[in-house]
Symmetry: C2
Subunit: 360 residues, 2 copies
Amino acid sequence: MASESVSSQAMMGGDGQYSYARNSEFQSHGVETAKAIINRVISDKLDLNRVASSSSKVFSIADLGCSVGPNTFNAVQNIIDSVKLKCQSYGHDKLEFQVFFNDLVSNDFNALYKSLPSDRQYYAAGVPGSFHNRLFPKASINFFHCSYGLQWLSSTPKELNDQNSPAYNKGRIYYSRGPNEVVEAYSAESAKGIESFLLARAQELASGGLMALIVPCLPDGISPGECSVLASADLLGDCLMDMAKMGLLSEAQVDSFNLPSYFPTPQELKALLKRNASFSIEKFEPLALSAQRQLATNTPTVVSHLRANLEILVKEHFGNGIIEDLFDRFSKKIDESSVYSQTSVYKPLVENVIILKHNT
Amino acid sequence: MASESVSSQAMMGGDGQYSYARNSEFQSHGVETAKAIINRVISDKLDLNRVASSSSKVFSIADLGCSVGPNTFNAVQNIIDSVKLKCQSYGHDKLEFQVFFNDLVSNDFNALYKSLPSDRQYYAAGVPGSFHNRLFPKASINFFHCSYGLQWLSSTPKELNDQNSPAYNKGRIYYSRGPNEVVEAYSAESAKGIESFLLARAQELASGGLMALIVPCLPDGISPGECSVLASADLLGDCLMDMAKMGLLSEAQVDSFNLPSYFPTPQELKALLKRNASFSIEKFEPLALSAQRQLATNTPTVVSHLRANLEILVKEHFGNGIIEDLFDRFSKKIDESSVYSQTSVYKPLVENVIILKHNT
């Protein structure tokens, strides 16, 4: 058990109370806010001549880490509308659109396909697999979109589960309260994942193509424990430790459970992106989210959101039996804490929209 | 109820006793036997120059009506091996392969993706939707494969449920014992479906591309009622009528239920294929199936095979409650009949492998 590491899992499928489909409003605001920026970049930077002069006249879009609808459908429709508008203004021939929806094999593709917009004007395909590896033939995609995906790790660092390592993460499930070694192990794993992501996309993106990323980041200048989302993950860890002390599960189970996500700072992320010479950074800016979104943090919303993201991981590690009890405890713990109320101490993540262009 | 028509449904998903995955050995023999023919045609007729000279160097394969594995994986691997062999002998640059697995939205794509071969050397994508419509951008596919798909109708003819039509199919669920009007209604619906299939593929198949079809046909010269598979569908209808007489379901429910499949004769199919000028028929021949396959017709095998194909349709129309009772009765009815034993009266379907080439 102690040597097991948690691997990444897809969001909660179906359309139940804690499904991603019904608990992704948070991400939806981000996707909506990013639209204007993506539209402007398509208008200014997208090289349509290469698509319009090729024999195929197909514009291919891939949404990486799409989960299920409706966020992914909104995001790709916006890209298509924007490309069509540009085509019209340049008098280009009519393009056909092909959209690839990618997520892990464990994603609920059946649910995704059943909810595909019936009036869509594109050919839809699903691509199962990790975006840390190659997913598409060379130079076959004109536009990549990936929102709220890059904070996920393909697996948690092995040393977190190694009792002899200084990065052994005993009594915790995350890095935010951990010693430097734990934070560094997470950071290194994240860097490796983002590098392999960029390496694969550099092969797959067509010449002159664009990539739009929405990445939630830890604001520069604060420590992980001062960020509300990371601090609430610590509270979930506290609940698990409480349950271990009551004998409802074993401490070793908690020790070997670590959440597979990491939020780089904008500075950290920018440095990683610059290392890959295939891309130029056309834009890197924080999303100007509405004040309403920033404050929409009542406990039930926070818990549902985190549960939709984490339930499958927790189930896989601890079994189905603890879920209701755990999230009840978590809800109380959030209520008693000041994680979302004391805004002078705890800061929200900052979501950055990043546009990369293929250099060749 | 009486005006409802049965629409096509995917095969039984998952990996349970009556899943398609565990009851597709029948089709598997056909796919295996067709391999040698497909290999020869790729070697002789496939125009690789057009792929190898294009900028993309991607060879795209689509399996239409793929259901779940393993048949579809075997079929596409054979095509890839064959194309690679041809590439080697012509000294062509290394191609990349992209495989699109298509089936209806109701297909169990989640199960398909989980069983994808881990050592596959192609990029896999799933395409949900009916192959009677467009599924892919223009000229984007180099090789289409479709085995045991074209006998399915997208819906049963409406007139079968119209009490005022001479094609009203009262007391039956199929055309094999029906009057001419019923047979003609089925035949016309099938022709319409195959025509729309060809029309879509003519747009999607790349110049010089090939299409391999395996289509089970009613042998020329016998009546539908003399074919064992069609006669066993009649027996299933008899079971439903028996249950209606016992008050377990209503006769109107049986009257409005009609199976959405039709087996054209080779002659009928050839005429339909010739009508579409985009394709030339490179090959049209019956599969030389092993004697063992032809005789593998013990009752449990027959019933499991038909159940994997029909259970979802029956459930959708009659509800879950009748399934076990119905298939128990069906098993007894098959045992008592001479449908699979009296081979001088009842003939098996003849499976044809057909290779079409895009003319342009």
